[in-house]
């Protein structure tokens, strides 16, 4: 398919339309999907934050429970009152350490815990105990940037009721972890405090519960009930709660059931989900960028787009391939037409040569034949009168070969105005000199030119004048005679008029005779009459033919009658009777003219006889064929070829014969017969249409329906229905009659 062609443009246009449609549908699907995903993601985030909150509620409950347990331990209660430690107090401290409940049984939320006694500045935990707070703080645990004094005062500054200090890095041994310190004073519920339970909580646990899914740009934060930020972080890691801030939005209605809002933070759309614990009033916030939520949809869209693109590309490739494949027979056909044309072109000179050969050497019986022959051979038939000239070439020794010499001569002749040039044999040729040219001058000119230009000796004979194409043959014969004469007389050009006059001859050439015989055998009375008229005119109108010879002419003509009878296939008796009758009539005439006319009349009547015989033969043949067809029309294989085969005729002849004798073509007639039969069967109404189709010689019901419609203007079904209706009416009528 050419890129510029209409077909291509149309194809591309429809292709793009489908593509655009697919993309529009795809986008609609994407928007719906993203909406769905968005809602689902928010629901999921709400669920997970809710879950995280419940988790921390449970953990804080554990911590509170443990703090309560620790604060009620007798060792703790008694140790609270100590200011100066006695020796026995160190034993107590040892026992206290050993009795502190373990904390790491269930989870890693609690990194450690200890009790800090304000009076003695001693601390006790399951893993360490000391009255030397300064030394212990530096060695066992230390918040970065806070010395033991600052840490003590930050604890001692107030009474704690399960409040927390924001996450900060704490070093212990060799490692550093971020710790949220959760503190409760002992005894609880008083305005003063004597000791604190300090739980060191792993900040990483907040991150583990809230961090997943926040990704680039997102953050989480945990606030205690007073609103201070305890823990915060983003996708890269924890953030310092002291410096972390976020855009405040209306928190009204936030409760343990998480609330989600869409917020724009530094130009980005975010989903902010907030939940506040009913248990301790802490709130948990997560801010997730919308782009993160929709990342899945985007990747799904990308995937779908790739699939669509691949599908369309494949479709394009496939359609191109199919178009090419389906166009192949058409291409082949075009190629073979080209081949045939070429072949015809190649054959044309041969056809022309064959036509000219016949024209010059044997002639055509009728002008129409000559004309159609000229048409086929694509040769211009000399339309008007002219003369025929023949030429013989005598190549010089060592010169060009005769064919070449002859070709050169013909070329020259063509240049001089000759037409219908035709080579005959190796060294001879014939051509027509139009009436407008002087034949002898042209011939002389040709001879000279040949001699001068090619050094080829030529001798030309100029024949008699012809009136139409049918006369060319005799004109040619005359030209040959003139050529023979020229050779004999040593001239280079001779004309029929140069031949010694044959006054003693009548004019009834062999050619005329054979033509006449042919015409009679064909039964062509008109043409035969015309020919006889011509012969009569040629011999009897002028006085140059002696009367004796005219008698002979008549005799010769009568010979034609005899010849006919002997050739005709009649029985000997009727032949002899006919010949005797003719003889009597012929001899009854005295004059040559009378005898000629009698013979002429006899010949014309013979023409009639032939014609009538022929006609009866044709009628018989036609009746035979019709009977055959009527008998065999139900055979689906019945066709022209089969009939032609049956009757020993060629298909072409049969086709013409049928048309001539019956008036319509074989196929039309066959269809007519079959439809008639079908109509009858339909009328009978016994067979379903499908069976009728087979019964009248059709294999394809579609063809049958079409033919029926063509013949009767209605479809067989409609016809059958109407017949039904008619029959029913009739039945009704007949049924009704008795009641009348």
């Amino acid at each position: 398919m050419d890129v510029g062609s209409t077909y291509f443009r149309k194809f591309i246009a429809s292709y793009l339309a489908i593509l655009a449609g697919a993309l529009v549908l795809g986008n609609i699907a994407f928007w719906r999907a993203s909406d769905l995903v968005e809602r689902r993601a928010i629901a999921q985030a709400r669920a997970s934050i809710s879950q995280a909150m419940r988790l921390f509620d449970a953990r804080f409950a554990e911590v509170e429970g443990m703090a309560l347990q620790v604060s009620r331990m007798p060792g703790v209660v008694s140790f609270m009152e100590n200011r100066e430690l006695a020796d026995s107090d160190y034993v107590k401290l040892l026992e206290l350490q050993r009795s502190m409940p373990p904390f790491q049984l269930t989870n890693k939320f609690v990194a450690n815990y200890y009790v800090y006694f304000r009076n003695s500045r001693a601390i006790a935990s399951p893993s360490f105990a000391s009255a030397r707070f300064d030394a212990l703080y530096g060695a066992a645990f230390r918040f970065e940037g806070i010395d033991s004094r600052a840490w003590e005062s930050s604890i001692e500054g107030r009474v704690w009721r399960g409040d927390a200090l924001p996450a900060r890095p704490m070093s212990s041994d060799a490692s550093t972890t971020r710790i949220v310190a959760w503190i409760r004073s002992i005894p609880s519920g008083y305005r003063t405090s004597k000791a604190e339970t300090v739980f060191l909580l792993n900040d990483g646990e907040f991150r583990a519960a809230l961090g997943p899914g926040i990704d680039e740009g997102g953050w989480y934060c945990v606030q205690d009930r007073s609103g201070s930020i305890i823990s915060a972080g983003n996708s890269r890691g924890p953030l310092d709660p002291g410096t972390f801030s976020f855009m405040k939005i209306d928190d009204a209605g936030v409760s343990s059931s998480p609330l989600s809002r869409e917020v724009v933070e530094s130009g980005r759309k975010m989903f902010r989900i907030t939940a506040r614990s009913d248990y301790n009033g802490w709130s948990y916030r997560v801010s997730i960028p919308r782009s993160v939520v929709l990342a899945d949809v985007d990747s799904a869209r990308l995937f779908a787009s790739i699939i669509v693109a691949i599908t369309f590309l494949l479709g394009l490739a496939l359609s191109a391939y199919l178009a090419r494949r389906n166009a192949r027979p058409v291409m082949r056909l075009a190629a073979s037409v080209d081949y045939l044309t070429e072949e015809a072109e190649r054959q044309a000179p041969l056809v022309a040569a064959a036509f000219l050969d016949r024209l010059y050497r044997s002639g055509f019986p009728r002008l129409a034949d000559a004309e159609s022959g000229a048409d086929d051979a694509r040769v211009a038939l000399p339309s008007s009168q002219g003369r025929v000239a023949t030429v013989r070439v005598f190549p010089s020794e060592g010169g060009r070969p005769p064919e070449a010499a002859r070709a050169a001569v013909l070329e020259l002749a063509s240049g001089l105005g000759a037409t219908a040039l035709h080579p005959i044999g190796v060294d001879k040729a014939a051509f027509v000199i139009p009436e407008s040219l002087d034949p002898c001058a042209l011939a002389a000119c040709l001879v000279d030119a040949c001699a001068n230009s090619y050094g080829v000796e030529t001798i030309v004979g100029v024949g008699g004048r012809f009136e139409d194409a049918l006369g060319i043959k005799s004109a040619c014969d005359a030209a040959w005679e003139a050529l023979e004469f020229a050779i004999l007389s040593g001239a280079s050009v001779a004309s029929t008029s140069d031949l010694p006059s044959c006054a003693s001859g009548y004019r009834f050439s062999l050619d005329d005779e054979s033509r006449l015989t042919t015409l009679i055998s064909m039964g062509d009375r008109d043409e035969a009459g015309r020919l006889i008229g011509e012969i009569r005119a040629a011999n009897f109108s002028s006085s140059d033919v002696p009367p004796a010879l005219l008698g002979e002419l008549a005799a010769e003509l009568s010979g034609c009658v005899h010849k006919f009878w002997f050739r005709a296939s009649a029985d000997a008796a009727s032949r002899d009777r006919a010949i005797d009758a003719f003889r009597q009539r012929f001899e009854s005439s005295e004059s040559a003219r009378g005898r000629f006319d009698t013979a002429a009349c006899e010949l014309l009547s013979l023409c009639d006889l032939v014609a009538s015989t022929k006609r009866s033969h044709n009628e018989g043949l036609r009746d035979g064929i019709s009977a055959y067809v009527s008998k065999n029309f139900a055979d689906p294989l019945l066709c022209l070829a089969k009939v032609a085969d049956e009757f020993g005729l060629s298909e072409g002849y049969l086709s013409r014969f049928y048309k001539e004798q019956v008036g319509i073509s074989f196929s039309d007639d066959l269809e007519r017969i079959r439809m008639g039969a079908a109509l009858e069967l339909l009328e009978e109404g016994r067979l379903p249409i499908e069976h009728i189709v087979e019964n009248v010689g059709y294999t394809n019901s579609n063809t049958f329906y079409k033919a029926f419609k063509r013949c009767f203007g209605v479809s067989p079904r409609a016809y059958a229905d109407s017949r039904e209706a008619r029959t029913t009416d009739k039945d009704k009528a007949s049924a009704a009659r008795p009641e009348e």
């Binding site: 034993v91 040892l94 893993s127």
Partner: protein, 540 residues
């Protein structure tokens, strides 16, 4: 034709199923296998990639054995191994439990060995164990430590006699303070008390504050009062999580030190120290971190004396204060001058499971690691201890001297720079005799912990070595269970009692009988009897 092909295929299959017999090279020859095979080895990691470990790669090249590691972190290793062994399926070929924190006890090994989970190595040792046999000969007692009550050996041990740990009860005294105050090294408990009082009162750290702590210690690592100080009154092997805490042999009889009369005298002395105000009252709860905080106090070192296996147990070794301390020879008390000997534990390091398809090859691998580096002049097998030459260790230069003053053989490149993934960190059953340890390059002018440990052990404590200790033994599993329960209770009670007697919460005269009664109720007799029974079997 078909039959012949089938026969060939069957033969090939049969061969492939038994490659171990076909491939393993004769004892002592390398590579162990020509065609590389893979063995799965379970061990503990601190997160390092043992596939990239240089010692792994060296061993693979040397032996032709590729190791596929199955690792676990230190914390969950014990549980993971227990689950693995209890299920008995999906076992690796080899288990290498490290000794930094033993994840399987001897009696567990014996138990699993009897169940057939670990295969007995006796016949393999006989056939292939050139190095194992030599090691058991070179390290007397080592074979006994790995021989299970059923008479089989299931584990190849590491053979490293860390010399200084054979006399672990050391007392470190601040020589700078002594010199500053013009005091002599004390020789008796009374002299020590005088020195401590001087430390308390005369501001030896010179910061103008009375913040000195004359004597302290901490829990574990031979840091408590019942170690060095108790030995002046009562022979005590101390307690270090061992099976024979405070148990020792008196003329072949297992004896429990805390119930002896000498122990009571020791307690009296401790009380005196406390009453004199020279004993750190937190000595019973101190952790290493607290000692480091006291010796590292920015206002001046606060500690006069402390007890520990080594100086690093109380002072930051990178601080110059570490060099202020010297070892105090055993005090001359009622029990004489005694430094209690401690037996060497040859930890099981190499166990082959029933799942191993190539027990011969696996054993050859363990036996190869057991090569004594000194048995080969090329020293090639130092690699089994420190990793490949060049990265883990180098040869000593001419003229360099070792810890013991002899010409040095090698320099250790990894121990001071941990986590380099060069060596296995002595994971395997390697052999590291003191004869080699003491030949590592030592700078005579530079203070190193290793050198001070060697010197103090050799020069200060060696001549007072008294060996009454019970060797490491493998208990029958039912005995082990019973003993474990008694030990926990007894250890806690004795430790608390030391604290209470010392701090005056219990009265040494009034409460002593009650103390003995409690211990008796706790099953000290059973403890002694079962240990005696096991020792008698062990001694046979």
């Amino acid at each position: 034709m078909m039959k012949r092909a089938l026969a060939a295929a069957v033969a090939a299959l049969a061969l492939s199923a038994l490659p171990a017999f076909a491939q393993v090279s004769p004892a002592g020859q390398y590579p162990i296998v020509k065609d590389k095979i893979t063995l799965k080895v379970f061990t503990i990691t601190n997160g390092e990639d043992l596939n990239a470990n240089l010692q792994t790669q060296w061993l693979e090249k040397k032996t032709g054995i590729h190791i596929e590691w199955v690792t676990s972190g230190q914390n969950e290793a014990k549980d993971k191994l227990a689950i693995m062994l209890a299920s008995g399926s999906d076992l690796p070929d080899i288990i290498m439990p490290t000794n930094t924190a033993p994840i399987i006890s001897d009696d567990q090994i014996a138990n699993y060995g009897e169940q057939g989970i670990f295969i007995p190595l006796d016949s393999l040792i006989e056939k292939y164990g050139v190095n194992a046999k030599k090691g058991f000969k070179d390290f007397p007692g080592s074979k006994g430590q790995v021989t299970s009550p059923d008479g089989h050996i299931y584990a190849l041990p590491t053979l490293a006699d860390v010399y200084h740990t054979t006399l672990p009860q050391k007392f470190w005294i601040n020589k700078v303070w002594l010199d500053k105050l013009g005091l002599k090294m004390p020789e008796t408990p009374d002299e020590l008390l005088k020195v401590l009082v001087a430390f308390r009162d005369r501001d030896p750290n010179g910061n103008g504050k009375k913040d000195e702590i004359p004597l302290t210690g901490r829990v574990n690592m031979y840091s408590s009062l019942d170690n060095y100080l108790m030995n002046a009154f009562q022979y005590s092997p101390g307690i270090n999580g061992d099976d024979f805490s405070w148990l020792y042999l008196e003329n072949g009889k297992v004896t429990f030190a805390p119930t002896q009369a000498g122990w009571r005298e020791g307690l009296r002395y401790f009380k005196r120290l406390n009453d004199a105000g020279v004993l750190d009252k937190e000595i019973f709860i101190n952790q290493k971190a607290q000692l480091l905080a006291l010796t590292g106090d920015p206002n001046g070192n606060r500690v006069g004396c402390f007890m520990n296996l080594h100086i690093g147990g109380g002072v930051d070794l990178s601080s110059p204060r570490a060099q202020e301390y010297v070892a105090l020879p055993p005090l001359k008390g009622p029990a004489g001058r005694v430094s209690a000997d401690h037996p060497i534990k040859y930890y099981p390091r190499f166990l082959i499971t029933k799942n191993c398809k190539y027990p011969e090859i696996a054993f050859r691998l363990g036996d190869a690691i057991m090569t004594n580096p000194l048995s080969d002049p090329s020293l090639e097998w130092i690699t089994a201890v420190f990793g490949p030459e060049g990265q883990g260790w180098t040869r000593a230069k001419q003229g360099q001297v070792g810890l013991d003053g002899q010409p040095a053989l090698f320099r250790d490149l990894v121990s001071d720079v941990p986590n380099q993934n060069i060596s296995w960190g002595q994971r395997g059953p390697c052999v590291y005799p003191d004869a080699l340890r003491n030949r590592q390059v030592a700078d005579p002018t530079k203070w190193t912990n290793e050198k001070s440990l060697y010197d103090s052990t050799k020069n200060v404590y060696e001549k007072y070595r008294v060996s009454k200790t019970i060797p490491y033994m493998i208990y029958k599993s039912e005995d082990a269970e019973q003993l474990a329960e008694i030990r926990v209770n007894v250890q806690n009670y004795v430790n608390d009692s030391i604290a209470k007697f010392t701090l005056g919460a219990l009265d040494i005269d009034k409460d002593w009988a009650k103390y003995l009664k409690t211990l008796d109720d706790m099953g000290v007799k059973t403890l002694v009897a079962l240990t005696q029974k096991t020792y008698d079997r062990y001694n046979k």
